[in-house]
Amino acid sequence: MITIKSLVKTYHTNGRKVQALNGVDLDISTGMFGLLGPNGAGKTTLMRILAGIANLSGGSATVDGHDLSTEQGKHAVKSMLGYLPQELGMYPELTAYQFVDYMAILKGLDEPGERREWVEKAIELVGLTDVAGRKIKSYSGGMKRRVGIAQALVNDPKLLIVDEPTAGLDPEERIRFRNLLVKLAVERTVILSTHIVEDIAQTCRDLAVLVHGSVIFRGSPIELMQAASGHVWTLTTSAMEKPNHDLSVVSMLHLAEGTQYRLVGASAAEYPEAKEVQPGLEDGYVWLMKRTGQTEEVLA
């Protein structure tokens, strides 16, 4: 459905040239696709290009055969698009129903009966039916995100782009949101951009890791995990100092017998008591970053 070839994006900010995307190649088909990377990797720029909001500086990008370097192509893509931006701005004085209804009008759902049906369906899908008549300014962050996804779905889009959708949500909201995205991905392409590895692990069968505007990994979550095989250990110690020797601490667990560290690195030979364990997606991601010299960005 989406074909991206040698995509380049440069822009100027404060008088200096920034290379946001540096020759990105991707093919994305129907289903849930995860785009992972640290902050500033170029994820939002890529999302905006795919949404037809930002222009390409070089290379090509097509969605369902529509060329995003042309105005006609962008128009066609926007007609089949559902978009939830990272910073979701809404009209606080409107109710959720009014907001979704307004977005439906902007997307071209002119016929009132048909529009009402779609609006009600989208609001129901995100579980806001009971409170749809309340003004958005009275909503919590999670509820606002749900309104955001409802407006994205109201035109039954073939392509759904969600940029950092779970940022600021509580754990329950996050799980609920992830489940909703998985459900939606059954019959459409959903691109989930995030720097939260857990979100990708729970939802995507296909992913890419973007760093400094370049794709450094493309494959399945399992492949990313397997790449870290033999490079992940747990170490339980009562020592106050964190393990070092070029090992990254992915997590810490405070136990009665000391602190259990989860470590990722090339070798744990310095710690004979360290036990090798099966890697998770987060371990795979950290190992990938270490291999490519991006560790500080990830663990900062």
């Binding site: 905006r48 926007k78 009014q98 977005m103 071209g108 002119d110």
Partner: protein, 221 residues
């Protein structure tokens, strides 16, 4: 597909777009009453020819870029031209409403503006031309700078400079065509029609330039 709803257009407009001109209208009604009927013509000219255009310039600067859902709107197939018109036209119509309301107030107070401007239409042109040109200037500079405040400041600065140096503009061979106060304060000036023509054209050119710039949506999100 029309992709437009007047109801939502009004509901999503900022209330400042209404309160701001309403407040100035109220102040000038009070000034008109305090100064009395001997000065009502002067007060009306000041309101129509100076205040209304300034408010138009400021409101136009804030009209599009302050939309909290601009990124979502850009992700829909709504054209840039429609986005511009949807936000600029209400601002202009609000200005028009208060301009006409003040004329009614002035007429009720005994103002005779016909002796100065002749046809009713001439009086309307006298406030519309500077309003359109300052709206275009404010909007254009806001779009160039991608910042509403810059547009409002620039429109205000031009308004002030022309107000203070209007005699210089009148005397200048080129400046007289760009004096926004000519229509209202110098209706007998021989350069009046050319001035109006130049200001309207300049306004249209600035609106078109802003339209072209606004198409580069990523600059504004």
């Amino acid at each position: 597909m029309k992709r437009f709803s007047l109801r939502y257009n009004l509901l999503t407009s900022k209330l400042d777009q209404l309160w701001f001109p309403f407040a100035f209208f109220g102040v000038f009604v009070i000034i008109g009453i305090l100064r009395g009927e001997n000065y009502i013509v002067d007060t009306t000219r000041a309101y129509l020819g100076a205040v209304i255009p300034l408010l138009g310039g400021i409101m136009a600067s804030y009209s599009v870029l302050e939309d909290p859902s601009l990124e979502l709107r850009f992700a829909t197939p709504v054209s840039t031209l429609q986005t511009m018109l949807e936000r600029l036209l209400p601002s202009f119509l609000i200005e028009a409403f208060f301009a006409l309301a003040y004329q009614l107030f002035a007429a009720a107070f005994g103002a005779d503006l016909a002796s100065m401007y002749g046809l009713w239409g001439n009086l309307q042109i006298a406030w519309m031309v500077p309003t359109i040109s300052l709206m275009a200037l404010g909007f254009f500079t806001a779009i160039v700078a991608a910042k509403s405040t810059i547009g409002a400041l620039f429109a205000g600065m031009v308004w002030l400079v022309e107000l203070v140096a209007r005699e210089w503009f009148l005397a200048s061979d080129i400046g007289k065509y760009f004096l926004v106060y000519m229509s209202i304060f110098y209706p007998d000036n021989p350069a009046l029609r050319n001035n109006q023509f130049a200001l309207v054209w300049l306004g249209l050119i600035l609106f078109m330039a802003a339209w072209v710039l606004l198409k580069k949506q990523e600059r504004y999100i």
